[in-house]
Symmetry: C2
Subunit: 329 residues, 2 copies
DNA sequence: TTGTAAGCGTTATCAG
DNA sequence: CTGATAACGCTTACAA
């Protein structure tokens, strides 16, 4: 494998000159540049980034930490991140945490070890204080799901307002008994969505009936169970707001199994506008997040931090949108 | 940020000794080791891997190249890869190619640049000859979708046999007119599946009716169109085999829209056993691939290649399984 | 068992 | 405009 030294010898110049050509230093004579470039071609030389990285003490790699890869939701966000990053010459890598703090810490290690220049975190499990401390030393930003109160740059949507809007829409449809199916793990987003849900009820003078709130996991299976359970309440809901599309799918299935016609007998709203919500039967009313934009913004915030770790933390909430489909009416 | 030098000074030993402790060299005296470890703790030292990597000329990073992140199919495979890799002290990173040759080449660059030690390729778009040439120099293995004839290690399923089995099952159910919805891009897998499909028909003395073969893309939308188109044929199919679950979803929807009852009037088989196939309505008969195992095997093959780039290429086909559900009967 | 010092492949400073 | 050379942080002969 050819090194910069080989190129230098081949081109009869110093390694410094080769390095300059490699880095587009304007003060190389055009002819010299040509000679060097020919040598590079002839030797099939490709710079060893291990050397460069050590010298520059940076890799131009950024890491995106996802809780799982099996969630359609992230794909557009990643695309946004990549677009922005590539523009600035950064490479994007993805790591999967399985929501395991240890795996998260392993990846933080990559930052300490200088193998990546920054991290965009989705759904961090690390404690707030740790996160804040790390954020002072390393470029880290949070995206979408986040730890409330951690002092880091952050881009997300206004989850409370989004839930408020969804609930308000159901209320305006005439519903008086609205169920909520949410996560039993206390994610910031689910907490905020529950708040928004309750606030809408209160604001429209409807009672908050805890019997109609069901805590469970993010899977369709859980959605099915939850729906069936809610139907057994003294006053069963005539509409259900779920905090994810995957839950909504299960909910609809459960309702169907109980002989309910979704969108007619009972309304359902999901969250995230993942592709399946457009394709299930019925199609599912849901909240859309500006995912591409979110990715781009997150990358921008991170690049800022990489440039200047002491730059002020920013909190950005992007606008959401209620997508009305067949599952409500 | 503390370096190995700082630790050495702090512990009053040489950097060599610190390095030995870091690498668990058995010939350091226990007391010395302790002193060094205390120094490491006190300084909060964490080795800069850029230095180590340069010196060792390896990173212990492997890269998994996916065509897209929005396919549920990959998640279990990645898990398998990670399990195996972690066991051997390797880190797994994921890159997304969007099926773009340039992006693929960018990532190959990481290999030339020594930033990753090897690559596991899903759905490479690079030409066979290029791939073969690269495979001689760098550790690269193919997984699941692959370039036929490229001389690289490879783990997948026997796609032809799988399609044969699915078709045979439909034939044994009594179907005489079976449709095939497959990809119009010629992936190896779709080519092989088409072959298996035709071979089953032939072997059971059924005519191969090209009118019942529909070429399209991998999306549900395309599946819907395809299904509707097939229903307009002179002799419409009484069963449809699709080469992916996402297509199958669309197909089922299209059939429903035409008033057909899937699993009763007409049967549908998908491919990949992704989570939605278990959760759609009806649940979808499909071919299951041993994804976890596939990931583990792929990682093993890659690690072999990393150890010895000249080790013989292996081709491994793992067993598939027909999962019978409501969409056929 | 430990220390000295060379070297991995770059970039950047400084002198010319 | 170009060259010599130190330095980045680490590992590993080789010597002691």
């Amino acid at each position: 494998m050819a090194t910069i030294k080989d190129v230098a010898q081949h081109a009869k110049v110093s390694v410094a000159t080769v390095s300059r050509v490699l880095n587009n230093d304007p003060k190389v004579r055009a002819e010299t540049k040509e000679v060097v470039e020919r040598a590079i071609d002839e030797l099939g030389y490709s710079p060893n980034l291990l050397g460069r990285n050590l010298r520059r003490s940076s890799t131009h790699n950024i890491l995106v930490l996802l809780p799982t890869i099996s969630n359609q939701f992230y794909s557009a966000i990643i695309k946004g991140i990549r677009e922005e990053a590539t523009l600035k010459g950064y490479n994007v890598m993805i790591g999967i945490t399985d929501l395991d703090v240890n795996i998260e810490m392993n990846h933080i290690q990559l930052l300490e070890n200088k193998l990546v220049d920054g991290i965009i975190f989705f759904t961090p499990q690390i404690a707030k204080s740790t996160l804040t401390r790390l954020g002072k030393v390393y470029p880290i930003v949070q995206c979408s799901e986040y730890v409330e109160g951690a002092k880091l740059s952050l881009v997300s949507i206004d989850n409370k307002q989004a839930a408020f809007d969804a609930t308000k829409y159901l209320i305006e449809l005439g519903h008086k008994h609205i169920g909520l199916i949410t996560s039993k793990k206390v994610y910031t987003s689910s907490k905020l969505r529950e708040e928004g849900f309750k606030e809408a009820l209160t604001q429209y003078q409807l009672p908050v009936n805890e019997e109609l709130i069901y805590y469970t996991d993010y899977t369709p299976q859980c959605g099915t169970e939850a729906a069936k359970a809610l139907l057994t309440r003294k006053t069963p809901p005539t509409a259900i707001f779920t905090i994810s599309d995957s839950l909504a799918i299960g909910v609809i299935r459960g309702l169907k199994e109980c002989g309910k016609k979704v969108g007619v007998d009972i309304d359902v709203i999901g969250f995230d506008n993942t592709f399946i919500s457009k394709f299930y039967e019925p199609t599912i009313t849901t909240i859309s997040q500006p995912r591409l934009e979110m990715g781009k913004k997150a990358a921008k915030l991170l690049l800022n931090k990489i440039q200047n770790i002491d730059s002020a933390n920013e909190t950005i909430f992007l606008p959401h949108e209620l997508m009305i489909r067949q599952s409500t009416k």
